[in-house]
Structure formats: structure tokens, C-alpha cells
């Protein structure tokens, strides 16, 4: 099977994944007890506004049975309509357009940071096995994996924002700076397109601490997986053979060890994308980052079922796409895998 056919097959499989996702999330959300309209109307005095309450339920189809609501939702989804948020009263697609770029931008920079830091640290740790560098890197990795994001973020804010004043506290841009014009929703791109360079550098500055926090736990994991993988590969016969052929150590490591040792690391990277996207909720809360994680939390709290299902679908699609890309990359790296 060639790569084109493989991608087509994976894409068609994604349709089933999506159906499963929507159904599963929908049932889960309906499994939660309660009536979202009751919650929304409780603040204003429910009984005084019972007509309004019933009209609201009818307008939003909340009085329909679950299966009918689900079929309506799927029917609309096929037509490209993701529904309207009960909470924001806006089309959910507009909410996702507003919030998802912030999450992607944060997750992407965290991913880059984690990859650039995690893999080299793992390599160094493996090559300097049992040295003090190895111990230090393993300690840092363990620290990264073990520390709760919430705690770490607050400590980092206290040190680097409050005392040292070298990073901003929160949000995507300084309070006294103009928010970039929304073109793509990615501040780094929008500021470049509009030539808003102060905004660009400020946005980069604002990304530093949150992406470090989000990426730090991943750095630890990547370093540990890479180290273990290299240690396993480095003792293989073909590595010994390569060395006995008189190849330079650089070539042995680069061509024979790394190519094989990185396969599990890359597989992990695919899984981490999902972790970064969904794990951004805490980071987004602490850094007042207006991303989809906070949108999802607010939607769950207010039982905005469609919004929760849509966010799940979106993250599910991003996750499975990342894994598809990983499968393709692994196929290039591993001659044993051919599609």
C-alpha cells in the first residue's frame, strides 16, 4: 500500500472515530444529572420567569428526548453546523474559532520547547550514563514529570514575575498593549501579517512561561523515554558491528543509534499532542489564557452539552491527525514498516 492510500484509509477511519466520539461524549453529557436551563435561570428567580424558562427549553430543543437531540446534532454537524452555545448564545464554531487558536499556539510552542529540550537531554543522559550529568538530567526529568502544573506555575510566577520581573504575569499580551486584529487568531501570525512588531515580541514574551510550564512535564517524559530507548539500542549487535567497522562515534550515534532509538520517542510525541491540548486547561486558567480548555470547563460547569461535544470532537480530530502524522514519520524511519 502506498502512502496516499494509507492516508485515505486513516482519514476514512477517522469518520468512525468521530461518530464514536460524538456518541460517547453525548451520552456522557446526558448522563450528568440536571437541566442546563434551570441553572441558567436560577439567578433571576425561576418561578417568576417560568414562561421564559419553558420558552428557552423549547427554543434550544432541551425538551426533546436524548436520541432526537443527538440526531439533530449529527444532522447539523454533517451540514457544517456545530450548533449554538447555550452559554455564549453564539454559534459554537465562532467560539472555537476565537478560543482554539490560543490553545494551539500555546500547545505548539510547548511542543517545540519540549522536543528541543527533551530529546537532547535524553540523548546526553544516555551517552553520559551514570555520570553526574546523567543524574542531574534524570532528577530534572523526574521533577518535571512529578510536579503538579498548578504548583509549578505559581512558584514560577512568584520567582520570575513577582521577584525577578522578567516574564509577564498572564494573558497573551500586556494589559496596556492593543490586542492584535483577529485574522487567524494566532497572535504570532496576526502580528506579523499586520506588521505589529511590538505586539509580536510582546506575544512571544507572554508565551515563554506558560509554554515552559506546559512543556516541562513533557520534557521529563521525553528525556526519560529517549534515554531508555538509546540505552537499549546502543547495546544492540548492529551498533557493535558499526563500531567494529571503524565508523566514527558521531556516525554510529547519528546514523545507527538515533534513527532506531527515536521511533518510540516519536510515537510518544504523537500521544503528547493530545496531552498538551487537553492538559492546557490548568495552564490556561493560571495564566488567564483565553483558550479552548477554559471554554470547555465553563461549558461543562454550565452543562452546555453541545459545546462540550464539539470541543471533544475538535481535540479528538487534532489528536488522531497528530497520530496519523506520527505513523507516517515512523514509516520513513523504520524500514520494517511499509504501508
Amino acid at each position: 500500500m502506498n502512502i496516499g492510500k494509507f492516508i485515505l484509509r486513516r482519514l476514512s477511519l477517522q469518520i468512525f472515530v468521530l461518530i464514536g466520539l460524538t456518541m460517547f461524549t453525548f451520552i456522557l453529557m446526558f448522563g450528568l444529572p440536571g437541566d442546563p436551563a434551570a441553572l441558567l435561570f436560577s439567578a433571576g428567580g425561576i418561578a417568576a420567569g417560568m414562561d421564559e424558562y419553558h420558552a428557552f427549553r423549547a427554543k434550544w430543543g432541551l425538551d426533546l428526548p436524548m436520541w432526537k437531540q443527538y440526531l439533530n446534532f449529527v444532522g447539523n454537524l454533517i451540514r457544517g453546523d456545530m450548533g449554538t452555545s447555550l452559554v455564549t448564545r453564539a454559534p459554537i464554531i465562532d467560539n472555537l474559532r476565537a478560543y482554539f487558536p490560543a490553545t494551539i499556539e500555546l500547545a505548539f510552542v510547548s511542543f517545540i520547547f519540549a522536543t528541543v529540550m527533551g530529546i537532547p537531554l535524553g540523548v546526553i543522559s544516555a551517552l553520559k550514563r551514570n555520570s553526574w550529568i546523567d543524574h542531574a538530567i534524570r532528577a530534572v526529568s523526574l521533577f518535571g514529570v512529578s510536579m503538579p502544573i498548578f504548583w509549578l506555575a505559581i512558584i514560577m510566577l512568584i520567582i520570575f514575575y513577582y521577584y525577578l520581573g522578567i516574564v509577564p504575569s498572564s494573558q497573551r499580551i500586556d494589559l496596556d498593549m492593543e490586542i492584535p486584529k483577529h485574522i487567524t487568531g494566532f497572535y504570532l501570525i496576526d502580528t506579523i501579517i499586520t506588521g505589529y512588531w511590538d505586539g509580536f515580541f510582546n506575544a512571544v514574551h507572554h508565551l515563554m512561561l506558560p509554554s515552559f510550564i506546559l512543556g516541562f512535564s513533557v520534557v521529563g517524559l521525553l528525556a526519560r523515554v529517549t534515554r531508555a530507548s538509546i540505552l537499549e539500542v546502543i547495546s544492540q549487535d548492529y551498533v557493535r558491528t558499526a563500531r567494529s567497522k571503524g565508523l566514527q562515534e558521531k556516525t554510529v550515534i547519528g546514523r545507527h543509534v538515533m534513527r532506531n532509538a527515536l521511533i518510540p520517542t516519536i510515537t510518544i510525541l504523537g500521544l503528547l499532542v493530545g496531552g498538551l491540548l487537553s492538559g492546557a486547561v490548568l495552564t490556561e486558567t493560571i495564566f488567564a489564557w483565553p483558550g479552548v480548555g477554559r471554554f470547555a470547563v465553563q461549558s461543562i460547569m454550565l452543562l452546555d452539552r453541545l459545546a462540550v461535544v464539539d470541543v471533544t470532537i475538535l481535540i479528538g480530530v487534532a489528536f488522531s491527525t497528530a497520530n496519523m502524522i506520527v505513523d507516517i514519520v515512523v514509516a520513513f524511519l523504520d524500514p520494517r514498516i511499509r504501508y
Binding site: 450528568l32 440536571g34 434551570a38 435561570f41 436560577s42 425561576i46 420567569g49
Partner: protein, 581 residues
């Protein structure tokens, strides 16, 4: 490699050093309180408002705020918000929407915010209406509209503009099918401009809360003609108006980015307000900072000047910051334990009384609310007609007495009840903590309470369905400063949903009767008597067991002064704030 080793050591050393500095410095903070210099001169004047009609003297606190020689460039405010249904009246019911609406719109009447803050009786004072006359039977209100006032759109305020604005509010309320919540609007016979600067409103029946309602969010005055230009699908500009300002007040919307930032700019043509106070800053920037710990650092560092909606623990921490001070004011929110009167135990009047005695009010205030509020056992708040400390502070924690009553009623070993715990808070009382405290409190009276996890949607769903078997907690607030609000919204709604009609039809009918009488009565002394009676009935019979009136607390940098609260807007009155730069 040598350089690399050196760099690594340096990195580790610097990190450890920074961490140590952070830890040690926290412990050695010098607690020096820089109290802002008082610039307020207060005087109480006797001000007669249309004496031949209202026939009473209205006390108005006038606060003279030193005029700002130069406007502060910006005041940064920490807030918590998510989306908006609308800042433009009548839409938008969240605290944030109320807060912003009252900064950009004004009503025909206004509440004297310093008086409300003090808990004094707050009779509405003229605002965009320079004066008013009320007919003897209380059905005709004639407003003289203030001259020289302009909307931020450039249009002038006229009698016709006021008529259009009020009619638009009613139109949108009908569009949203919300008339039941504003039932009095169906009693309006006509609203007409009876002169260039005069508006006459005729009602079928006398409606005493009208002036207080005209100061509340839903009926603030907007430039309806401008909104009409932006109409979509016959909504009279409601969608466009959600995030555009067309008011007369001290600020106007400059930009709004959902979940991030709202910027208000000073209205340079502001007429000065009923109390002659204009804004002290060119702009107000409201930023959404959901995490309290982050907000704490931001105000301590000076990145924000004012922090709203802080949790009590953060406020206690901020009290130790030398450059920050906090102040509290009574809010219009109460904390309540809700129980259905059809509940097996609550149906028994004696046991219902025992439940009141089994709640440790003072403990709840000091431990859970961290002292931010006051024990208050009625939905009618201090400052409102009908308020009586003898009613709102009648219960005290007497677990042994409660136990004895319960035993007398046939439960020598007490009884069991479930408590629904859920996310949320009323002021500084986090629901989960409030419920845990209630559990411990009831235990001493022999009531075995089991906590079950719930959600707001489930809890309120059960109240609506009349299927609530457990006890729960909820904050209940007032949106206009008149006893009609708790009476009409709470006495005749939640109280009924919680089974008063099935429990005691006579009381239920009496409550309805008193609500109607209170609305129709124009004499304030008589209204006070009516609402006092209603208050006593509610406290003795309704399933809303009110325990606390919570306080709103604000944290400010010490270079900020004149923090005057606007409780009905869940906010400060930002016109008063002054910032020394």
C-alpha cells in the same frame, strides 16, 4: 564541554538561589500599611424632592470628590468574566454585565451609592430625570428630563429619546419572553413624550417600586434611535447593542474581546452625574484573570490597580501587602440553605424551627465566610423598607434546644437528611465548605446529614420539578433596591417552588396578598409595615433559610482612593475612583 559544565552548574546554582530568595523574602515582608490619603469631604444635606408629591424629605449623602487635576491614564481592573449576553439594557444578568452597564448607562433615577453602602435607606434620587411628579393614586408618573445631556453617539437626550428607550427595553423583554419577570410592564397603559423634555408614564395600577426599578439595569436609558439603525431580524439593535455603548454615563465601550479584556473610555461630554462626580481616569481596563493566586501577584506587583471578585483567602493574604488595601461593603447577596417544605421533616413546623436552631450562624460567618459579611436571616436587606433586625436576627445556634424539639416530635435519635453539595459560591462562602459546615452544625442537634455531590443544574432542576428531597445551598441576590425584589422574586417564586402552597395555603395566599399590597402602596410608612409583615412570614415559613448577607470585598493599590461601592451593580462606582500617578 568545559563551558557546558560551567553553564549547567551556573543554571542549577541560579535556580536554587532564586528559589531560596523567594522563600526567605516572603517570610520577612515588612508589614507597613500605607493608607491612602483621604480626599473625601462628606456632608449630609436635606434635599427636598418634589415635596408636594412625595411629601417626604429625602436624605442624600453628597460626597465631594476632589476634581482630578489631570486624568489618570488608565485604571487596570482585575475581574472574572466569560462572555456577555449584553451590556446594553435590558439584556445581561451576570454580575459583570450589571457592573459594566452601570458604568456606561444611567437611569431616570439613581441610587445614592454612598447611602446604600452605609446600609441607610436608599430612596431613589433624580438622575436623567431632573424631577418627577406622581399622581395621588400612584398611577401617573411625570418625569422632567434633564437638559443638556448627550448620548455618547452625539444625539441629545430628549423626552422622545427616553420614551423610545423605555419602549425598546419593554420590546426586548417581550422578545425574550421575559415579561413574567417584569410583570409590571404589562400594567403600562402608555409612555408618551408630553413635552420636549417631559415624559408621562401611565399605569393601570399604582406601582411603588417603579423609581427603584428605573435605576436598575433593565431600564437604564439608551439611544434607541441609534440602536434601531443596527437592527437585525427585528431585534431593535439588541444583538449589535450587546457590546456597543449608546448611553449617557461617564464611560463608553472602546473595545471588547470576549474572555480577555473590556476597555472603557471616559465620556468627554459627560454631564456630571446627579452628585456632580466625574471620572478620574481616561480609561478603565477590565481584564479577565480567573485565577486568584495570579491576580494576587498582579495587584501586589502593581500591574492591576483594583481587584474585584477575589476569594477571601487571597484577600487575607493581600492585607499583608504593604502597597495594597482592601475594603468590604454589604452586598445585595444572601447565602441560603434551601429545603422543600413538603420534605418529610421540614413539613413539620416545629422541626422546621429546630433546623433554624441547628445552624451555627456565627460559626459559618467566621469560619466559612472568613468574617466577610454579617449574620442575616431574611431576604429583605438592611436599608430596604420592611427590614427589622428583630426578624432578620431572630435565630441563634441552640443545638441542645433543637435536639429536644426534634425528640419531642417523635425523633428521639434525631433523623437523617441528605445535603447536596456543588460547585459555586455565594460571596465568600464556597458552597462545598458551607455544606460541610452545615453538616457538622446539624450533627450537634442530632440531625445526621449525608453529603451528596450534585450540580447546579440538578439542584435547580429538582426545585423546578418540585422533587427536591435534600437540603442545598444557594446565593440569592437582589437586582433593584426595593423590598419588592425579594418579595416578588423570592416570596412568590422560590418560596412557592419550595412547596409553601402545599404546606400552608393560608400563608401562601397571605404572601401573594402582601406582595400585591406592597407594590400598590405609595406611602413609605405603610409600605414598611406591609413588608415587615411579609418579611416575618417569609422567614417563618419559606424554604429559603437565609443565613448570611455576604460582603463584597475589593482590593486596591494604595495610590487608589475613593472606592465607593455600588452594591446594586455588584461593583464600585468607578466615577469616584482617583489614582495618584
Amino acid at each position: 564541554m568545559k563551558n557546558f559544565k560551567l553553564l549547567t552548574k551556573l543554571f542549577v546554582f541560579t535556580s536554587l538561589l532564586s528559589f531560596m530568595i523567594a522563600c526567605t523574602t516572603t517570610e520577612t515582608v515588612e508589614v507597613i500599611k500605607e493608607v491612602p490619603v483621604e480626599k473625601i469631604v462628606e456632608k449630609i444635606v436635606e434635599k427636598e424632592v418634589i415635596k408636594e408629591v412625595i411629601k417626604e424629605v429625602v436624605k442624600e449623602v453628597i460626597i465631594e470628590v476632589a476634581p482630578a487635576p489631570t486624568y489618570a491614564k488608565s485604571i487596570n481592573v482585575r475581574d472574572v468574566f466569560f462572555f456577555t449576553e449584553g451590556f446594553t439594557p435590558p439584556r445581561g444578568g451576570s454580575f459583570f454585565e450589571h457592573r459594566i452597564s452601570q458604568q456606561i448607562y444611567e437611569g431616570l433615577s439613581a441610587l445614592n451609592t454612598p447611602m446604600v453602602t452605609r446600609g441607610d435607606s436608599a430612596v431613589p434620587v433624580p438622575n436623567l430625570a431632573e424631577s418627577w411628579k406622581i399622581s395621588g393614586d400612584g398611577t401617573t408618573y411625570t418625569f422632567k428630563i434633564r437638559e443638556g445631556v448627550k448620548f455618547t453617539t452625539g444625539n441629545s437626550l430628549t423626552g422622545q429619546a427616553v420614551v423610545d428607550s423605555l419602549k425598546r427595553s419593554i420590546f426586548v423583554i417581550e422578545l425574550d419572553k421575559a415579561t413574567a419577570r417584569f410583570s409590571w410592564v404589562t400594567d403600562i397603559v402608555s409612555i408618551d413624550a408630553t413635552g420636549d423634555m417631559e415624559v408621562t408614564m401611565v399605569l393601570k395600577n399604582s406601582f411603588a417600586p417603579l423609581l427603584a426599578i428605573l435605576a436598575s439595569k433593565q431600564f437604564l436609558i439608551v439611544d434607541a434611535a441609534e440602536l434601531k439603525k443596527h437592527e437585525e431580524e427585528g431585534d431593535w439593535g439588541a444583538a449589535w447593542g450587546a457590546t456597543n455603548s449608546v448611553g449617557t454615563a461617564a464611560f463608553k465601550i472602546d473595545s471588547w474581546v470576549p474572555e480577555q479584556r473590556l476597555t472603557l473610555k471616559r465620556n468627554k461630554d459627560y454631564w456630571g452625574g446627579h452628585d456632580g462626580v466625574g471620572p478620574g481616569a481616561d480609561q478603565l481596563v477590565f481584564s479577565n484573570i480567573p485565577e486568584n493566586a495570579t491576580a494576587e501577584l498582579m495587584i501586589a506587583k502593581g500591574e492591576v490597580d483594583v481587584a474585584l471578585q477575589m476569594d477571601p483567602i487571597s484577600l487575607k493574604t493581600l492585607d499583608l501587602q504593604p502597597k495594597v488595601y482592601t475594603f468590604s461593603y454589604p452586598s445585595l447577596i444572601t447565602c441560603n440553605f434551601l429545603i422543600d417544605r413538603r420534605n418529610e421533616h421540614a413539613a413539620n413546623d416545629e422541626i422546621f424551627k429546630a433546623i433554624h436552631m441547628a445552624i451555627d450562624y456565627e460559626g459559618l460567618l467566621s469560619v466559612v465566610a472568613m468574617g466577610l459579611g454579617s449574620v442575616h436571616q431574611s431576604l429583605i436587606l438592611p436599608g430596604m423598607l420592611g427590614h427589622d433586625p428583630a426578624i432578620s436576627n431572630q435565630w441563634s445556634y441552640e443545638p441542645e434546644k433543637a435536639k429536644a424539639i426534634i425528640a419531642e416530635q417523635g425523633y428521639p435519635d434525631g433523623f437523617s437528611i441528605k445535603l447536596q453539595s456543588r460547585a459555586g459560591a455565594c460571596g465568600s462562602v464556597v458552597y462545598t465548605k458551607g455544606i460541610e459546615f452545615l453538616q457538622a452544625s446539624l450533627k450537634k442537634a442530632g440531625i445526621k446529614a449525608e453529603i451528596v455531590q450534585s450540580t447546579g443544574a440538578k439542584f435547580w432542576g429538582q426545585i423546578i420539578d418540585g422533587t427536591l428531597k435534600d437540603m442545598g445551598i444557594s446565593g440569592l441576590g437582589a437586582t433593584y433596591f426595593d423590598p419588592d425584589n425579594p418579595a416578588s422574586v423570592r416570596a412568590t417564586s422560590e418560596c412557592f417552588l419550595l412547596g409553601i402552597e402545599q404546606h400552608n395555603k393560608t400563608v401562601a395566599d397571605k404572601l401573594k396578598d402582601l406582595v400585591a399590597k406592597g407594590r400598590a402602596e405609595t406611602d413609605n410608612d405603610k409600605r414598611h409595615t406591609i413588608y415587615r409583615e411579609l418579611n416575618a412570614l417569609m422567614v417563618a415559613n419559606c424554604g429559603e433559610i437565609t443565613v448570611l448577607q455576604v460582603a463584597d470585598t475589593v482590593a486596591l493599590r494604595t495610590n487608589m482612593s475613593n472606592g465607593i461601592a455600588m452594591p446594586h451593580a455588584f461593583s464600585l462606582d468607578f466615577r469616584y475612583l482617583r489614582k495618584a500617578e
